[in-house]
């Protein structure tokens, strides 16, 4: 009996040793994996706006590093918005400070969240919203939450940076600073397409909008009212997805809330976009040529209609940092 017990004890000891060794191996392996993955995040994260994917990432997250209450206008919406509104172009034209607060596939529900977040840092007097976000399905991750998620999956999300990795990427931890392009994502590709501007036809039945979309829209209108923000609805040129039904749905809402609505996909006085060279993909997102033209058009629209609430800062010394960015911006545009 005693012998059997001693055998059992020996067996248990050996078994425990084996289990302990295996558990230790797994723990060490997992720790090493986490460390390596953490380092991979540092390597692949863009270090500034010039890196691949950097302008889209930093344009969004660096908003909070703008001087408090220094932004006059905000541009909101989905990817069409961040490719279509260039704040530096607006400043260059009429001296209005602005920021593009938009994200890929952001729905109107997310725009509401982003607006609330923006108001914690800034007191804009004007909000220009690209209405394409009204037709986006609501996605789980949006705004800041999405950016945090991107941090976690940086080696996947920014994997294409393998092409431009340099020594700097292995030894530099990315630090947030002020955004140069102020949320605008400059796309240089010119996609030749044969789209033409649409024709307004109010007789086509408007597209049905979901109650949740209407509710969010109503919330945005109320927030703007409460904060004295003028709201302008714009349908940026996107011939690939634009339809009369969608436009008429927005027109209906604009009439209901008495809001200005500019559908730049149709005939609009003074707006003559060159469809052949203004898109970087097949008729959905504007490239720098299209964005420059659209922003210039909107600059004069804003100046004409909202100059009583927004000042020209170009002679104001408090905005010297903006003034100093314009030559750099011009240089960037001219290199393309």
């Amino acid at each position: 009996m005693a012998m059997a017990m001693s055998h059992l004890t020996l067996f248990m000891e050996r078994f425990n040793m084996k289990v302990k060794k295996r558990v230790l191996t797994i723990v060490v392996f997992l720790l090493a994996l986490i460390l390596v993955y953490g380092y991979a995040i540092i390597i692949f994260m863009p270090k500034d706006e010039n890196d691949l994917g950097g302008s889209r990432y930093y344009g969004y997250v660096n908003f909070k590093y703008e001087r408090k209450n220094s932004i006059d206008a905000i541009f909101c919406g989905d990817s069409n918005a961040y490719c279509g509104f260039s704040p530096l172009e607006l400043y260059k034209q009429v001296g209005i400070t602005s920021y593009t607060r938009a994200g890929s596939q952001e729905s109107i529900i997310n725009v509401e969240t982003i607006l609330k977040e923006t108001l914690k840092y800034q007191k804009p007097k004007l909000m220009v919203m690209d209405v394409d976000c009204m037709f986006q399905p609501n996605i789980f991750f949006s705004g800041t939450t999405r950016q945090k998620f991107i941090n976690l999956i940086a080696p996947f999300y920014f994997h294409a940076r393998w092409k431009e990795l340099s020594f700097k990427d292995f030894v530099t931890v990315p630090k947030p600073t002020k955004s140069f392009l102020k949320g605008y994502v400059l796309e240089r590709n010119v996609y030749t397409n044969s789209y033409k501007k649409g024709v307004t036809n109010l007789s086509i039945a408007p597209k049905d909008l979901d109650i949740s979309i209407k509710k969010s829209f109503n919330n945005i209108v109320n927030i703007c009212k409460n904060h004295n923000i003028a709201l302008v609805l714009v349908y940026l040129p996107a011939p690939a997805s634009w339809t009369n039904a969608k436009s008429n749905a927005i027109q209906q809402l604009a009439n209901e809330y008495n809001l200005p609505y500019l559908d730049l996909n149709c005939e609009y006085e003074g707006f003559e976009l060159n469809y052949a060279n203004s898109f970087y993909d097949d008729g959905e997102h504007l490239n720098f040529k299209g964005a420059t033209y659209v922003t210039q058009f909107l600059s004069y629209y804003i100046k004409e209609n909202y100059s009583f609430v927004i000042n020209d800062h170009r002679q104001d010394k408090n905005f010297d940092n903006w003034n100093s960015l314009i030559p750099l911006y011009d240089q960037l545009i001219q290199t393309y």
Binding site: L52, H159, K163
Partner: protein, 522 residues
Amino acid sequence: MGFKIGIYLLLFASIVYAIYLALPKKARPFCLLAFSILFYVIYSKFLTIFLLLTILTVYFGGIAINKFNDKFALQKQGLEKEDRKKLKQKFNRKKFWVVFCVILVNLAFIGVLKYFNFFGSIFEGFFSWFNVTIHWPVLKIALPLGISYYTLTAIGYLVDVNRGKYRAGNFWQVALFIGYFPQLYEGPFARFDQLSPQLWEGKGFDANNFYGGLLSILWGFFKKMVIADRLAIIATEVFSNYAQYNGIIILLGIVLFTIQLYAEFSGIIDIASGVSELFGIKLAKNFNQPFFSRNVGEFWRRWHISLGAWLKDYIFYPVSMSRGITKLNKKMQKLNSFMQLFITSSIALLAVWLTNGLWHGAGAKYIVYGMYYYVLMLVGLCCEPLFAKIYKKMKINKDSKPMIVLSFLKTFVLVNLGMLIFRANSLTAAVKMFGGIFTGGQIDIIRTGIIDCQDFIMCFVTIAILFAVDIIKEKNINIKQWFLTRKTALKLTIVILILVLIVVFGAYGNGYVPPDPIYGAF
């Protein structure tokens, strides 16, 4: 869609795998069946009805054949030889009609869903010759997932039951055999006697199956996402806008498309085989280093092996053994044996390559694609004695290394011409592209803006890896066996390393457009 189907299959399989292992052995095959149907419903929605109809028709067809076989066995007892022969003929006729009707019904499904518009265009074209305008209605319906795969698999099963290769299975066996989810997307074509026993074994966790499956899945993803999707950047652009390019760039586009197709198709098969291996189920081999083929015949025995084997068993042999061919053979007894073989083979091969072409797609170019290989096969067959004489006279050893390499190159060139027909937007486009190869023009692909320098270099680095692995396999070195005999830590390190390579160098996400899998449309 692109790699999404692979990711979807993998995520789906992970859930099924966990549930499968938790269940008792007897319940595991039913778990596979339930999830296979769910997989199909998620993907094809109401079109699942067509899969279910195929299962039902083939199941009842098999049962009917079983009953006729049993009746014959019962009734033949005590009969004279002559009467037994007559009785057998009677039952054979009945069985033939069962098989004929089931095949007809199933071909009708695929005919309507896949070929309705194609036949309509032929019909309209035919009447337009006589200045008669016929408006054939255009059917706008998505194809049920893998209809070309499961239909042929089901037909093969019924024919085998009719041939007495095995007795028809019960409903669950037939349903799981036809609907087994890893093979539904791009095959390979399964055989009931090989797959069904494995499906019903209900194997539990096995470390070798797990690591072996994982390696196949990762290698499949590497081929699809790192190699094929990157090559697609060049191939898609060249084939879509061929008029803008000339000479070497068109040639490069065609060659890279051939390699893209190989990496993509074999990659997706590797993912399916790897997923299946997790469950301890081995799928049929579909590729065997096809670019090491000395002639196009061998190429088709190494490329899409399960399709070639299916066509051989269910088209070539039945046509070769048909009454018409047998009679023709008798009439040609005066001719020498080579001519006899040539004439009968040419008829059977015509049926094979016509089916092969039509299986690949509903369009004239696919028929031409099949006919291209048919002509090559016939020329090969015809010239074989002539070349043998030339080699003998010139004392050339056709098994010498330079001759082997030359024959590989010859086959590769011929296969690329076939791929040009297969991939070009139309036959006219194929002819124009072929002509374009021989014209000068831009040779710097980077300047054309199709691809950047780093991606272009990566194309060739990864092609080198692909061919290096094929050379190792051709030398009969079993990489998987080597991998499975390593220590766990090394196995995991290799797995993570491949994963990192896929994540970093995969042609997905920002800056890359994932292309649709080419064989996924069948």
